[in-house]
């Protein structure tokens, strides 16, 4: 069975290279103890890594690389110089008016129009999905619908839960977006931490909005956490407040 711990999979190469910090190593090793899929993947990655490492020793023949005089010098010397960026706006617009730029601008305008139509349609329907990947392979109806407090006693991996969005947080280094989903806004009520991660691309919901989140439930037992998570988030549906 496929494991959805994309977050831990991303740590496997640093782990193999011995570059993963202590807590990360412990977290990954705990998971490996109970996950056949990730153990098998780790073995494959280690083998692939060992083979790929040999590339570092394989230098391609340097004499194949053209020397400056036989390569680019002629082009540089014969006026293949860059055009300076024009100093006046009419000249700049003229410089920008290449067929390629015009095509790109036209495509952007059409895309914006398309998004506007789709967005309006979603508003009329009352709710819309925020995910940018196809959920064709995921049957959202099979996700267990639970309230946030009910997540504590749940034993099913795939859950759907509703609440208000607070504390949206982007981690650029990890490439993840996390937010807190609470039962009632600003009340200190029960919460679950939701995490969106690559390869699932999804715009984070606006803070204060009410959403239904689909994903994999887990418990983060780290010392400074000890909270329930929906990680990874597989789909988000905006709801009426």
């Amino acid at each position: 069975m496929t494991c959805l711990r994309f977050d831990l999979r991303k740590k496997m190469i640093p782990y193999i290279e011995g570059r993963l910090a202590g807590p990360g190593t412990a977290r990954l090793e705990r998971h490996l103890l109970s996950c056949d899929f990730c153990r098998a993947l780790l073995v494959r990655l280690r083998t692939g890594h060992q083979m790929a490492q040999r590339l570092a020793w394989l230098s391609l023949a340097i004499d194949e690389v053209p020397q400056f005089d036989s390569g680019i010098a002629g082009l540089v010397a014969t006026g293949a110089t860059g055009r300076a960026w024009p100093s006046t706006w009419p000249d700049r617009l003229e410089a920008l008016a290449t067929p390629r730029v015009v095509t790109v601008l036209a495509a952007v305008v059409l895309l914006q129009l398309g998004l506007l139509v789709v967005s309006n349609r979603a508003v009329l329907l009352g709710e819309h999905s925020r995910t940018s990947v196809s959920t064709g392979s995921i049957n959202l109806a099979e996700f267990r619908q639970l309230t946030i407090p009910e997540l504590r006693s749940n034993t099913q991996p795939h859950v759907a839960t509703e609440g208000y969005v607070e504390d949206v947080h982007t981690d650029e280094e990890e490439g993840t977006v996390a937010f807190r989903l609470v039962e009632r806004p600003q009340s200190g009520s029960s919460f679950v931490v939701c995490e969106i991660m690559s390869p699932i691309q999804m715009a984070p919901p606006p803070e204060g909005s009410r959403v239904r989140v689909y994903g994999v439930e887990r418990y983060d037992a780290q010392q400074d956490r000890k909270w329930y998570e929906v990680n990874p988030v597989l789909n988000i549906v905006a709801l009426k407040p």
Partner: protein, 204 residues
Amino acid sequence: MDRTKTKAAPAVALKISPARAPEEHRLTVAAKRGEPGVFREIYNAYRARVYNLALYSIGDSAQAQDVLQAVFLKVFRGLAAFRFESSLATWIYRIAHNECRDHHRRRKAPFVPLEAVLGSTDEVDPQPSSHEQHARRERDLIIQRAVMQLPFKMREVVVLKYVEGLSYEDMARVLGCAPGTVASRLNRALAELEERLRPFRQLL
């Protein structure tokens, strides 16, 4: 919410040691001024790395040379507008990556095996070699060929990491994506590489 792991990606320069960075800066400033001979220095400093990337990406030495030329023409043309928002190396790598990607999109031609690029092993290494050296070279060629037959995006991350030695952060800058995406892509590439080389495990 205390998310202590959060921090912005460090602004490290690409494979430029602290000792080398001032030299790179000096070269770039001089090149922007159009000082004679400086562009040659830049070319000589980066040509092998750009060529390596192009050859692994494209799989054909003649086309890799064309890409090399196109990359350095763009570098030459773009130097005046270079604003030190990244290191020179990152910028050159990014141009090379874009050029390889565009070349790959335009071409869509059948893959050329590495043997066709390098010729027979006798041609590659004119020195009389021992049996073990010959066998090692054969093994290396199998790995190189397997890498060059990976899908383009997978091949890129493998080459940037294992041939060029870049960090996830630097790869992300060159490829224009998040480090997390780099990590996922690298995982897929290595798993694919392992699968392709599995029949040769006894040899390797």
